[in-house]
């Protein structure tokens, strides 16, 4: 499935970028009028003078040999360029995912189990924060925690693990905030729903202690929808990361993808897209595996009902 997804995605993206207006040579020369001989040299170097399918075939052939090509703007191997950025995006998404899982699911369970003031305030907070786009969150966080309070740096990556954590905290929160709210709300709803189910009521009437009841009967059953929504949100973070990376001037893949698409740096766009598609597929596979773990009725390879 991964291979098929990658092949289709690479072809569609290549075609879309090929058809999009703009000219990589123009991006390369900054719009200066180049002598025709120089243009010919550049076009031959990057195979820009060949027909579409030939260009795609050329790229595919190299990609299958592990060569993702050369960036037109930087004249550097795409794999090197991706390698230097991938950990920023991976770290950011991982950090945000941890926040979503810990806070989102935690809040959801707590407010699902304890109706009252806490539940109401969670509902209100999550309703508001679900509507906050990542770039707005980024601006507010920078303004409050970097500019006014000076607790966290406003931009850039760190140098070692600890300073990376410091540098990534605001971006990760900005990235997580709206997904966190959605996960919390779905968790709360499904915990509530499971709590009202007949077998839980029966268990309550049989006097099964609270902790065991919640762990075995409520959470286990609520886990399937929670896993689904968490998986989808985390996979989507990979795409949203671009916005946050720009706002915090992080050297991540998302920001680089946007930049490369604008300058029609085809090889880079292809390379990053492959990484993103792979990550997306992998996250989904993990979710599928989790289904099977959580609910033995779900066999691997088939879908949960």
């Amino acid at each position: 499935m991964l291979v098929a997804s990658l092949l289709v995605a690479s072809f569609v993206i290549f075609a879309a970028l090929y058809l999009a207006p703009g000219n990589p040579i123009a991006a390369l020369s900054g719009g200066r009028t180049l002598p025709p001989s120089s243009i010919a040299v550049l076009e031959a170097r990057y195979h820009l003078n060949e027909p579409f399918l030939a260009q795609y075939w050329y790229w595919l052939k190299n990609a299958l040999h592990g060569n993702l090509g050369i960036s037109i703007t930087l004249r550097e191997n795409v794999s090197t360029l991706i390698a230097s950025r991938i950990w920023t995006t991976a770290g950011l998404v991982l950090y945000a995912s941890l926040i979503i899982v810990a806070l989102g699911i935690g809040l959801g369970i707590l407010s699902g189990l304890r109706p009252g003031a806490f539940d109401t305030s969670t509902l209100v907070t999550t309703a508001v924060s679900a509507a906050i786009p990542a770039f707005v969150a980024a601006i507010v966080l920078i303004l409050v925690f970097a500019v006014k309070l000076g607790w966290f740096p406003a931009l850039g990556n760190g140098t070692d693990f600890l300073s990376n954590v410091r540098h990534f905290t605001l971006p990760a929160v900005a990235l997580a905030i709206s997904s966190l709210a959605i996960v919390a709300r779905v968790t709360r709803a499904s915990v509530r729903e499971e709590g009202r189910r007949e077998h839980v009521q029966t268990a309550v009437s049989r006097g099964i202690p609270g902790r065991q009841l919640i762990q075995r009967h409520v959470l286990r059953n609520a886990a399937i929808p929670i896993t689904t929504v968490t998986g989808i949100t985390i996979a989507s973070l990979i795409a949203v990361a671009a916005v946050v990376e720009v706002a915090f001037s992080l050297n991540g893949l998302g920001a680089y993808l946007v930049l490369s698409a604008q300058s029609k740096d085809l090889a880079v766009v292809q390379g990053i897209s492959l990484v993103l598609v792979t990550a997306f597929v992998v996250v989904n596979v993990i979710v599928d595996v989790l289904y099977a773990v959580l609910d033995p009725r779900v066999a691997l390879g088939s879908r949960a009902q």
């Binding site: 703009g22 123009a26 200066r32 040299v41 004249r75 360029l81 303004l143 970097a146």
Partner: protein, 549 residues
């Protein structure tokens, strides 16, 4: 001929503005009052800041996007120029005030078609190898090598030969006299690199995979794309009168203005030559940042790209210019960091013959707004109610803001405007693709030449065959004055000829100048000593940078 266009790569981040900058909107009366009425070419502007006295461990210097290449033959925009001019040096040098000085070599002109460059004693590369005439010939020849596709080949179109003529001399023989070439050789096309090193690097020279070898006070250390280009102090700099004070300078691309602003405010960024800054007033009022304005060499202008429509009428072009609210542009787009124009070229470019230029400039009228007069001209031209089309991009905040000012101006004098908006990355096509220009009458630009001479920009748009002469504009008097200037050795005489061409150009308005941006220098508190004029684009700017005492 050496002039280039720049699109201020500023994406429209409305929400960012609203929160980070107090005065971000397009209210014509918003801040920036300090520049009101400031029309003198130099009033309140500084070319240099007081040299630093203390060593500084590290400075992060922001540019508006990541550096793409460190090879000078591909340096065509702010980030590449800023990085190259930090570390590399040219054959001649432009002083912060634009004056031409000896650089790695001094120049003599034994005849109008011969230039002899004599290398200064002791000039050496970072690796200790002396700069030789062979390095000079190699570096200059790379510009015109068709296999390399460098961006500056046109600069050398009057050169017959470049040859090493002694162990310390290089002689350039010209087909025709060309005194503009010296300006170019004091700029990016004149940067000298080490031949043996560059040949060994081959294709990798100046890429992230490779390295570079120059002569400057700061030397290349590493380049991690997306993070930055790192330069460190050169302890063996050949010029013993210069003592670089910063251990490490990182040139970092920060495309997002709000990210840049918070970086400056929190000290994550310590310096920059950022331009067209919507958050300028916020930065000015911060105690963490100090802002200088220096002479700029760029012009914000409306390019009339077709004379076929209503803009083919001189009266209509004059009327449009008269109707434009330039003070509004200075206040709202530039936040005060621009001057009212009298000529097409920025008065910051008066790098020679200053008294001649200044006298001629001060004698020229300021382009102030006069709607009544403008309306009359439109009526005289019989153009009332007619339509013209502006090519624009709603993704480029400044371009689209000034487009709005043109719409307002046209409306006020009875003309109609149609907009043809393209994406930010396709805006460049207006400059290079005749098909993209088809059907539009004009578009906006911020444009500058490679060296401090009004002719550097002017020649590209008024001379027949000029790289930005889209209307085949040809005025024999202007052409004659500029051609003569190019062959005139005497600086004051040359200045008089260029001034004449500028004045004649204003009578013809092939382009309409909007405002003359000044060059902005922003430094963290406690830092000082960077060049404050636009010369930073073409000559070392951090030789004096350091901590203030």
């Amino acid at each position: 001929m050496g002039a280039r266009r720049r699109i201020a790569a500023v994406t429209a981040t409305v929400a960012v503005c609203a929160l980070l900058a107090a005065a971000c909107g397009r209210s014509a009366n918003s801040a920036g009052s300090s520049a009101t009425g400031n029309i003198s070419p130099t009033k309140g502007l500084v070319t240099d800041t007081q040299a630093g006295t203390k060593t500084v461990p590290s400075v992060t210097w922001a540019v508006y996007r990541d550096v793409n290449s460190l090879d000078p033959i591909y340096a065509f925009d702010y980030p590449e120029n800023t990085a190259d001019s930090l570390m590399c040096e040219s054959l001649l040098r432009q002083a912060p005030d634009g004056a031409l000085q000896p650089g790695l070599a001094s120049v003599a002109t034994p005849s109008p078609t011969t230039m002899v460059f004599t290398l200064r004693p002791g000039v050496k590369f970072w690796d200790g190898h002396p700069v030789t005439p062979a390095d000079v010939v190699y570096s200059l020849d790379r510009n015109t090598d068709p296999k390399l596709g460098g961006f500056y080949s046109l600069v050398f179109n009057r050169v017959k030969s470049i040859a090493a003529t002694s162990s310390t001399q290089v002689t350039i023989t010209l087909k025709q006299p060309d005194y503009w070439l010296q300006g170019e050789l004091a700029s990016v096309p004149g940067i000298i690199i080490e031949k043996a090193f560059a040949q060994k690097q081959g294709k990798n020279y100046g890429t992230p995979a490779g390295s570079i070898m120059c002569t400057g006070a700061y030397m290349f250390k590493s380049w991690n794309p997306g993070v930055g280009v790192i330069a460190v102090r050169n302890p063996h700099y050949w010029n013993s009168s210069v003592h670089p004070l910063v251990d490490q300078i990182t040139i970092k691309g920060v495309p997002d203005i709000s990210s840049f602003t918070s970086g400056m405010l929190t000290g994550g960024i310590q310096g920059s030559y950022y331009f067209a800054l919507s958050t300028l007033n916020q930065l000015k009022s911060s105690s963490a940042v100090k802002v200088w304005q220096g002479p700029g060499w760029s012009t914000d202008a409306f390019i009339v790209s077709s004379f076929k429509g209503v803009l083919g009428s001189l009266k209509v072009r004059q009327a449009l210019s008269l109707a434009l609210n330039r003070q509004g542009i200075i206040n709202s787009v530039y936040k005060g960091a621009a001057l009212m124009p009298r000529w097409l070229s920025n008065p910051g470019t008066f790098g020679y013959g200053k008294s001649v230029f200044t006298a001629a400039y001060d004698g020229s009228p300021v382009l102030t707004q006069n709607i009544t007069e403008a309306k009359k001209l439109v009526q005289q031209a019989g153009a009332t109610g007619k339509t013209f089309t502006i090519g624009t991009s709603s993704q480029l905040a400044n371009i689209s803001a000034v487009t709005g000012d043109y719409q307002a101006a046209a409306q006020a004098i009875g003309l109609k405007v149609v907009l043809k908006s393209v994406s930010a990355q396709n805006y460049i096509n207006f400059f290079i693709d005749p098909k993209a220009r088809a059907g539009i009458d004009g578009f906006l630009t911020v444009n500058y030449g490679d060296y401090a001479d009004p002719a550097a920009l002017l020649s590209t748009l008024v001379l027949p065959g000029g790289s930005q002469n889209y209307t085949n504009f040809n005025n024999p008097q202007i052409t004659a004055a500029l051609e003569q200037a190019r062959s005139t050795a005497n600086l004051n005489k040359r200045a008089a000829l260029v001034a004449k061409a500028e004045k004649l150009t204003m009578q013809q308005m092939p382009w309409i100048p909007n405002v003359q941006p000044t060059s902005l220098l922003l430094l963290s508190k406690g830092l000082t000593g960077a060049v404050a004029s636009f010369a930073y684009m073409f000559a070392p700017w951090a030789d004096g940078l350091g901590g203030s005492g």
